[in-house]
């Protein structure tokens, strides 16, 4: 276990350094950092002075080392676009993305698991068939189309829900939350459904197929023979044993939620980190881009690491390569 963890941490470090190298190349060679800092009419001497002050004359490895050191201290420089430290910009955008992703994940899990159990148990009922057909469409349709469809129906035609922004937020010092106002919740509904729909269908289908498999097992037959209630069998015996793969998939889907949050944020003009990244691509705001690259890589490496460890912890039968048997 320890050897495995150390090897995984080592791998994670390699990934992070690769991403850092990419971000560094982007930062250093794409667009001259000096040009972004000085005005059009700065003289060559002034430019050279700034170049020296920033250390852009140093050898490349030294510059890369300094870049790594700064990144490790969450210093990604100033955003070209808004002229603020990148870290501060991200900190102000993070709560929006976090609240959206959390709501979407809860929506997907809390509805997906019961739906999966239901369609697994009553697999021939028409409700299951209707739901599975709809979920096939849900999986096939691109996220942004679902978002547009929801906006069209619930905002344009019916006028029930707002279609863009976070609405009224409450400032808790470092965290602006939309959870505390009615308006904030109203703004959250459509984006959260859009973002969570894919995961919802995925979880439902996974739980369903696992349930179908588990319900055929001998111990379920024995449980029935012992005269246990359906409820105890379905939830106590069957569902419990389907949860290991479900936990893994939910863990890995956290990454997918981050990726799709970007699309959802664009459709609903949700002021989160994904929208920030898209804007930075359009404006060639390289410090913001490289910081986002770092952040995403870090999140993915961390999530995968945790999921891998969880997997081994939940199911000790999984034998790890590299440890003696």
């Amino acid at each position: 276990m320890l050897a495995y963890s150390i090897r995984r941490i080592f791998e994670a470090l390699i990934v992070m350094i690769t991403v850092a190298a990419l971000a560094f190349v982007l930062f250093r060679f794409v667009g001259d950092p000096v040009n972004q800092l000085v005005g059009q009419d700065a003289t060559l001497a002034e430019r050279n002075l700034i170049r020296q002050q920033l250390g852009l004359d140093d050898p490349m490895p030294v510059q890369f080392g300094r870049f790594l050191w700064k990144a490790a201290h969450f210093d990604f420089g100033m955003s070209y676009q808004v002229k603020q430290p990148v870290t501060a910009v991200f900190a102000s955008r993070f709560p929006a993305t976090f609240e959206l992703a959390l709501t979407a994940a809860l929506f997907a899990t809390l509805i997906g698991i019961p739906m999966g159990v239901y369609t697994g148990i009553h697999r021939d009922s028409w409700v299951s068939k209707v739901f599975l057909t709809i979920s096939l469409i849900g999986i096939s349709l691109p996220t942004f189309l679902i978002g547009i469809l929801l906006i069209w129906v619930f905002s344009t035609l019916l006028g029930w829900l707002p279609s863009f922004g976070r609405g009224e937020v409450v400032d808790l010092g470092i965290w602006k939350t939309g959870f505390l106002t009615r308006d904030g919740w109203a703004h959250l509904v459509l984006p959260a459904i859009t973002l969570g729909l894919f995961q919802l269908t995925l979880i439902t289908r996974l739980v369903r197929s696992q349930m179908l498999e588990v319900l055929r097992a001998d111990y379920i037959k024995f449980a029935r023979a012992r005269g246990l209630s359906d409820r105890a069998i379905n939830f106590g015996h069957a569902l419990k044993n389907t949860l290991i793969p479900v936990i893994t998939v939910i863990g890995l889907q956290v990454g997918a939620i981050i990726a799709f949050a970007l699309i959802t944020e664009f459709v609903f003009q949700w002021p989160g980190m994904g929208l920030l990244f898209l804007q930075s691509v359009q404006n060639a705001d390289i410090p913001v881009m490289s910081a986002y690259l770092f952040l995403v890589a870090f999140l993915f490496v961390a999530i995968n690491f945790i999921v891998d460890l969880l997997y081994v912890w939940v199911d000790p039968r999984i034998r790890i390569l590299g440890t003696s048997t």
Binding site: L26, G31, F144, G255, M289, V301
Partner: protein, 318 residues
């Protein structure tokens, strides 16, 4: 009377034999027996056909800026009051005919998706073959990279590659390189699956007698890999390519919709939906609805056919 050499006879007889085999096979039987798949295949063929016949079928040319008239902008479909009989499905804000633009847009969406899948296939199959056949350190290196990339959702990879390439090339004039960037970005996000599949099959094939024999007669590794092993690993790869095509279409549309794919002056399903989305709140629903429905139908049809192919041809992938 002409005498036909025996090997020629075999060559002539073979296609007929194949056709016969195809007609007798389970595949055609199951195809005819599943109406949903037949319907999906029909839709797919119609849409793809319409896309590639766009210059013939489209009444207007959306690339021809001279023919556009801003006065024709935002016309509703022709069966609605205020619609213009010249424009069946209405026009967008620039006065482009929606029907024609969908045809041309679908063509560029499909071309990009096919090129991207082709690129991913080329890259993934070569790397997978090399990794599986050579083994050792090069195998470890390639598969490690693949493992790491697999943890990122493909759309995020495509978006990051696209964003970086776009920023890096900003200085030079982009021009046609929009298409190239998109193809490379989407292709790079898909290659892993091909590499893993091919490597797995190659590991099995490598130890078979025919490879040993080829090695014995002194063929080079490259010849063995590409002439002998490759034909035997292709069938799962082609199934994967069909399924990936739908995903590539979605990715292209998503990137273009997000404003980092094609510029909005180039017709594609994604850019059309992006433009239409801006006018949705003002009630011009046709600008987004028709391209949206086309995209959904195309993706669903290709997906259904792909799933069916997978179930029939390669049960391992299920």
């Amino acid at each position: 009377m002409t005498i036909v050499a025996p090997d020629k006879v075999a060559k002539i007889a073979r296609p007929a034999g194949r056709l016969r085999r195809f007609i007798d096979s389970d595949m055609l039987h199951s195809f005819v027996r599943s109406p949903l798949v037949m319907f999906a295949a029909l839709i797919a063929v119609i849409l793809v056909g319409a896309a590639f016949l766009a210059p013939v079928l489209a009444p207007h040319d959306p690339y021809d800026l001279k023919s556009l008239n801003l006065m024709d902008g935002e016309n509703p479909p022709r069966w609605i009051k205020g619609g213009d009989p010249r424009f069946w499905l209405g026009t967008d804000d620039q006065g482009r005919d929606i029907y024609s633009t969908i045809l041309y847009g679908m063509r560029s969406s499909l071309l990009i998706a096919m090129a991207a899948v082709g690129f991913a296939l080329l890259l993934g199959v070569s790397l997978g073959l090399v990794a599986g056949y050579r083994g050792g350190r090069i195998d470890t290196l390639i598969m490690r990279i693949a493992d790491i990339q697999l943890t990122f959702p493909s759309i995020l990879t495509a978006l990051l590659v696209d964003g970086i390439a776009r920023t890096a090339l900003k200085g030079s004039q982009l021009g046609n390189s929009h298409y190239v960037i998109l193809v490379v970005a989407i292709g790079l996000s898909f290659w892993v699956q091909y590499a893993r599949t091919v490597r797995g099959v190659t590991l099995v094939e490598r130890n078979k007698d025919y490879v040993q024999a080829a090695r014995l007669i002194g063929l080079s590794s490259r010849k063995i890999m590409f002439n002998h092993v490759l034909p035997n690993v292709l069938s799962p790869v082609l199934v994967l390519a069909t399924i990936n095509l739908a995903l590539a279409i979605i990715t292209e549309a998503t990137l273009s919709f997000l404003g980092v794919g094609l510029p909005s002056s180039e017709p594609s399903l994604g850019t059309m939906i992006q433009i239409g989305n801006r006018f949705l709140l003002s009630g011009s629903w046709w600008m987004v609805a028709f391209p949206g429905v086309t995209l959904a139908a195309l993706v669903l049809a290709v997906n259904l056919v792909g799933d069916w192919l997978r179930d029939k041809l390669d049960p391992r992938l299920r």
